[in-house]
């Protein structure tokens, strides 16, 4: 049989290629089953960059749904709590051009936490049900309070409150949160040529 094959070089080549294809196909098929990735890794990475405020300002019910929407091709500039920093990080991750924040979804604000004026709280539990991160503590007909460390400042508890006893107060205020700012770089004298200096002095 071998002798018969050696006389047919075309057949040998064909057989060799077919068997190679078969082996590699089986290998790939095995790998696809054995090393299957659960979930969408890109969407996980996007979710890790989002600020997890769960505020829904982007139009999706939480950060994970938005991260899935971005994976599916939605714009990356719909997250006001994350602001420019998050947009930049997302642009780096997805290798796209960063866009300015979409004002339709809100503007970037300093971080806040919810604060319940406890004397006015009637204990209706509506805010507790609205809180996306279970940061409000209380029961029916007793006063509620916000666990400040867990609150994301999403403001979803404000609307349901029938007596308007919830305020948003700045989260980072005072010396403990202060740090130096980068020096301002507007007046770089390198932009001035000698004659400019003279006219400026004369003025």
């Amino acid at each position: 049989m071998i002798a018969a094959l050696t006389e047919q070089p075309l057949l040998i080549a064909l057989l060799a290629l077919l068997s190679l294809g078969g082996i590699f196909g089986a290998l790939l098929g095995f790998a696809a089953v054995r090393f299957r990735v659960e979930g969408n890794p890109i969407s996980e990475q996007i979710n890790a960059l989002l600020p997890q405020t769960q505020c829904g300002q982007c139009g999706y019910p939480g950060c994970r749904p938005y991260s899935e929407a971005i994976t599916a091709g939605d714009a990356i500039n719909k997250c006001p709590p994350g602001g420019e920093e998050t947009i930049q990080a997302l642009a780096d991750l997805l290798d796209v051009e960063p866009q300015p924040l979409d004002a339709e979804h809100g503007t970037e604000k300093a971080p806040v936490v919810a604060w319940i004026r406890e004397a006015e709280c009637i204990g209706c539990t509506k805010c507790i049900q609205a809180c996306p991160v279970d940061a409000i503590l209380g029961a029916a007909k007793v006063m509620h309070t916000v666990i400040a460390d867990e609150c994301t400042g999403c403001d979803l508890c404000l609307d349901p409150c029938p007596v308007d006893c919830i305020d948003l107060i700045p989260r980072k205020e005072g010396i403990a949160f202060w740090h130096w700012n980068l020096p301002t770089e507007e007046a770089m004298p390198a932009n001035i040529i000698a004659s400019d200096t003279r006219t400026r002095d004369a003025a």
């Binding site: 405020t53 939480g62 994970r64 005072g174 202060w178 770089e185 770089m188 390198a190």
Partner: protein, 509 residues
């Protein structure tokens, strides 16, 4: 004789130390009002335990420590508490912070202090507690709670206690004066601290531009018959940085991100050692400190012992400040200090110097020019970093590269900015970048936490919905089963009952 090692980089700025006449110490006049910030140390602010209107005595606790990383605040003299409120404090931000305001009565009465002259008979852990209760935080400038430093844990045995008498920053002579005037207390304090941390050796390191301090301390060591080594080494800025000081005297480097205790060392400021002696032997809490008042705008520069909480304006008035137009007052030294925005701000446990320079003496910084990549900064950096790279990355806010280039090992000494021919305020870039990195790290932790909570809630809500659905299905199945058994459909029966009732109501309205 100890082998002296050299550190990388460093600079030799004009020292200007004789201006404040080191070695002469006087008492500052007692002000009518003391302002005592609750946050004078690194960590959690103390909590006030007195109320407005309370009469207090010197040495009385006004605010208690909150947790381990905190120290209490004591009344420096007798008087009445007139307010507990936000007041300007000496801080680079110019922000206010909570302070206890004490109107002094001039009687200067104190509570009775009970010292432990026989401290060798007491367990070290009790002495550490005593040091914590005395409100001692590192007096060299960082304000790290001393009790925490003295308690590095059983996994980090200490073999050497180092007293850092370098005081390398220009102008400042507070430690120099302390070593000259209170050498005996310093030696006693060093012995106590060595006992507390279980150190076999004690080294007091002093730069060689302080010959008087070296001879006074050496004499005090001999008098006390103590086994303490006094080492002197060449003057160079910033030899007094903790890690630099350790490398100069031991040749060892503190690992990046580590603390001296990792290599068996504890390093304290001489002021801290003296405060520890007073706390243990005399039972006195930390209520006073030595402050250098210097600069050419002062008529009477010098070193004073002042109550903590004395307003800066009072001390400068005491030293005959003839203020120029737009006079700058610098808290700390010219290299690492910051300008004080409000002179009503008080001095604190970490105030070692108040500098009032004339505009000619210390001109305001010239506007920055572009970096010409000369590399002088890298030659000057005592931490062997690459300041120029750090500068670019700080501008680009590239936190990943900044930590790759070990920004956190930067001691903010300002040597790079000092040699920069373009006068770029490099340290400010690094401080800002460090702040941003700390911030984003905290935010990251917060957002990870929120994600976990959000997802936990989602799972819970889904499980609840499923359980509800299952219950409904079970009820429906039960009803159908009953109908099959009785031969009566309960739903049909209910509808019929309702209709019957309706008809009844219709007939008798």
């Amino acid at each position: 004789m100890r082998e002296i090692h050299d550190i990388h980089g460093g600079i030799h700025p004009p020292e200007r130390k004789t201006l404040s006449r080191p070695g002469e110490l006087r008492d500052a006049a007692l002000p009518a009002r003391l302002v005592l910030p609750l946050r004078q140390h690194l960590g959690v602010p103390a909590k006030a335990i007195v109320e407005v209107g309370d009469a207090v005595l010197g040495g009385q606790v006004l605010a208690q420590a909150q947790g381990v990383m905190s120290v209490p605040v004591h009344a420096p003299t007798s008087g009445t508490i007139s307010a507990i409120e936000s007041r300007p404090i000496a801080h680079a931000s110019g922000l206010e912070d909570t302070c206890i305001v004490l109107e002094t009565d001039g009687a200067d009465e104190s509570i009775r202090c009970e010292g432990i002259p026989e401290w060798q008979t007491i367990a070290p852990s009790l002495l550490v507690e005593r040091i914590r209760e005395a409100g001692i935080a590192g007096m060299g400038g960082a304000g790290f709670p001393t009790a925490v430093k003295l308690n590095p844990g059983a996994t980090k045995p200490i073999d050497t206690l180092m007293i850092n008498g370098t005081e390398c920053e220009p102008y400042i002579t507070a430690d120099d004066t302390l070593m000259q005037c209170q050498a005996d207390a310093l030696v006693e304090g060093a012995k106590i601290l060595a006992y507390v941390v279980g150190a076999e050796r004690v080294v007091i390191g002093i730069e060689d531009n302080k010959p008087a301090a070296i001879s006074r301390v050496t004499a005090a060591v001999q008098n006390a018959g103590a086994d303490i080594e006094v080492a002197s080494f060449p003057t160079k800025y910033p030899s007094g940085g903790e890690k630099q000081f350790i490398e100069i005297l031991t040749g060892q480097q503190v690992p990046s991100g580590g603390i001296p205790a990792d290599i068996g060392l504890v390093c304290v400021n001489p002021g801290t050692a003296v405060a520890a002696k007073e706390a243990i032997v005399d039972g006195k809490p930390l209520t006073h400190r030595i402050v250098t008042l210097t600069g050419e705008a002062l008529g009477k520069p010098g070193n004073v012992t002042a109550c903590i909480g004395t307003p800066i304006a009072h001390l400068l008035g005491d030293a005959s400040l003839s203020a120029e137009e737009r006079q700058r007052i610098i808290h700390g030294g010219p290299m690492m200090g910051f300008a004080v925005s409000d002179l009503d701000a008080p001095i604190t446990k970490i105030t070692n110097c108040l500098l009032a320079p004339t505009a000619r003496e210390l001109p305001p910084p010239a506007p920055a020019k572009p970096c010409i990549r000369c590399g002088h900064c890298a030659e000057a950096c005592p931490a062997s970093l690459l300041p120029q790279q750090l500068y670019w990355y700080a501008r680009a806010k590239d936190h990943e590269q900044l930590s790759e280039h070990r920004l956190l090992d930067c001691i903010e000494c300002g040597a790079c900015a000092y040699v920069c021919p373009s006068q770029i305020p490099l340290v400010q870039y690094y401080r800002a970048a460090k702040g941003q990195m700390r911030d984003s790290e905290q935010e990251k932790r917060r957002s990870d936490n929120s994600r976990e909570r959000f997802e936990a809630r989602q799972t819970r809500l889904e499980a609840e919905a499923l359980a509800k659905e299952a219950k409904r299905a079970a009820r429906k199945a039960a009803a159908q089963e009953k109908a099959a058994q009785d031969g009566v459909d309960p739903i049909q029966a209910a509808i019929e009952r309702a209709q019957a009732r309706k008809i009844e109501q219709g007939e008798t309205p």
